[in-house]
Amino acid sequence: MEEFERAVEAAIFASSEPLSPEEIAAFAGEGEVAAALAALSQIYTGHGIELVERGGRWHFQTAPDLAHILRRTREESRRLSRAATETLAIVAYHEPVSRAEIEAIRGVQISKGTLDVLMEAGWVRTAGRREGPGRPLLYATTVDFLTHFGLGSRRDLPGIDDLKAAGLLDPLDEAALQLQLESDEEEA
């Protein structure tokens, strides 16, 4: 394969958008872009991916006949909210724990959806009720939780000293704290 063709191939591959021949030339330097594109199209014929032109711009895509294999329903992964992450951490470190205890430790109320999200994700489960006034429902983590976070057991959670050493126990400055409390409220 020619050097120029390699450069064109790499540029189109790495680009986050289809590229026009001018844009390709800007990356690949001196050479016959049109000829290189023709050669590459030829090379990729019969592959599982192909080089295609759409409205004067070029990009690679998977071969249409393989669409069914790839089940291309792009699942949007969502980042766990700060409130949910903190709640999960508290459950892990303090289980079994009631909702009131979680709120006491967080210093902020948790909205109803927070624990639901964690249970739906399969990381938190209910763990009976505590005998005592109000018989509060208790929460604990699941085996899936350990698996997901690569923990052999709950004893593998970093201790307070470890957190401190890793710089994770630094008090937030007031402004950041305030901001955070506000966004928590909005979330709820």
Partner: protein, 252 residues
């Protein structure tokens, strides 16, 4: 490797080391750089010469009246000890032997040097996102057996650290307030009442003060003290009208 500024080069190239301890990450770092300045393979460095260099370096820093951190001095003391052992006639009863200690030091320097080198080589590799690139627009696959919620173990631990930091018990310091205790008031009123055989306003027993808070406290305590002394039959109380002056008199 085109980008030397990608990471700070750990060693100074010049033979003359500037007399500043700020640039060093601890005594071992300084020792390694001194050893490097000998311009020989780390296996062949002269430990004795290295010790001399280190001690001379610290002496120089002292002469400049620089603050020298404790760990540098500890290392200096240890090296001075090692040096004296190496120079003394061999004593087979010393365990570990000075040669053994020197070898351990050399090993530590080699280990650190190896990791420093390794770090530099890692940083100089063809790195994803800088030298090599993944596909720009992957169509994406349907993620099988994968939770839609993205959160890493680091996020989790950091979240807990955050909670703990946020809810660390706050220290409350109660400011000292000037008060007159009931005991003080009883003592004071009973001492002063001995001199008052005529009706006297309670306020007259209060100490002279410019602090309104202390005056309020003294008034309240003295009032309760008066009630207590009246209960004990030691004084009499009289008040002409509601909110009028409260008068006290000794019963004796």
């Amino acid at each position: 490797m085109g980008e030397t500024d990608e990471f700070e080069l750990p060693r100074r190239q010049s033979d003359e080391l500037t007399l500043s301890l700020d640039g060093w990450e601890g005594p071992l770092d300084l020792l390694l750089n001194l050893a490097r300045a000998q311009k020989v393979d780390l296996h062949q460095i002269s430990i004795l010469a290295l010790v001399e260099q280190y001690l001379a370096y610290l002496e120089g820093a002292k002469a400049l009246k620089l603050e020298i951190a404790a760990d540098y001095l500890v290392m200096a003391a240890w090296l001075a000890y090692l040096k004296s052992c190496l120079l003394l006639p061999k004593d087979s009863t010393i365990d570990p032997s000075p040669e053994e200690l020197a070898m351990r030091l050399q090993l530590r320097l080699q280990r650190l040097d190896a990791m420093r080198e390794a770090g530099a080589r890692l940083m100089g590799r063809d790195r994803m996102g800088r030298d090599v690139f993944a596909r720009g627009t992957p169509e994406g696959l349907r993620l099988v057996r994968k939770s839609a919620w993205v959160v890493s173990a680091f996020d989790l631990f950091a979240a807990y650290g955050r909670v703990r930091a946020r809810t660390q018990p706050a220290m409350h310091i109660v400011a000292r307030r000037a008060v007159m205790t009931l005991e003080d008031a009883i003592q004071r009123v009973s001492a002063l009442i001995g001199q008052a055989f005529d009706w006297t306003a309670l306020e007259a027993f209060l100490p002279v003060t410019t602090d309104p808070a202390y005056r309020r406290s003294a008034l309240a305590s003295s009032f309760v003290a008066a009630l207590e002394l009246a209960r004990q039959g030691r004084i009499e109380l009289d008040q002409g009208a509601a909110f009028g002056d409260l008068l006290v008199r000794s019963t004796a």
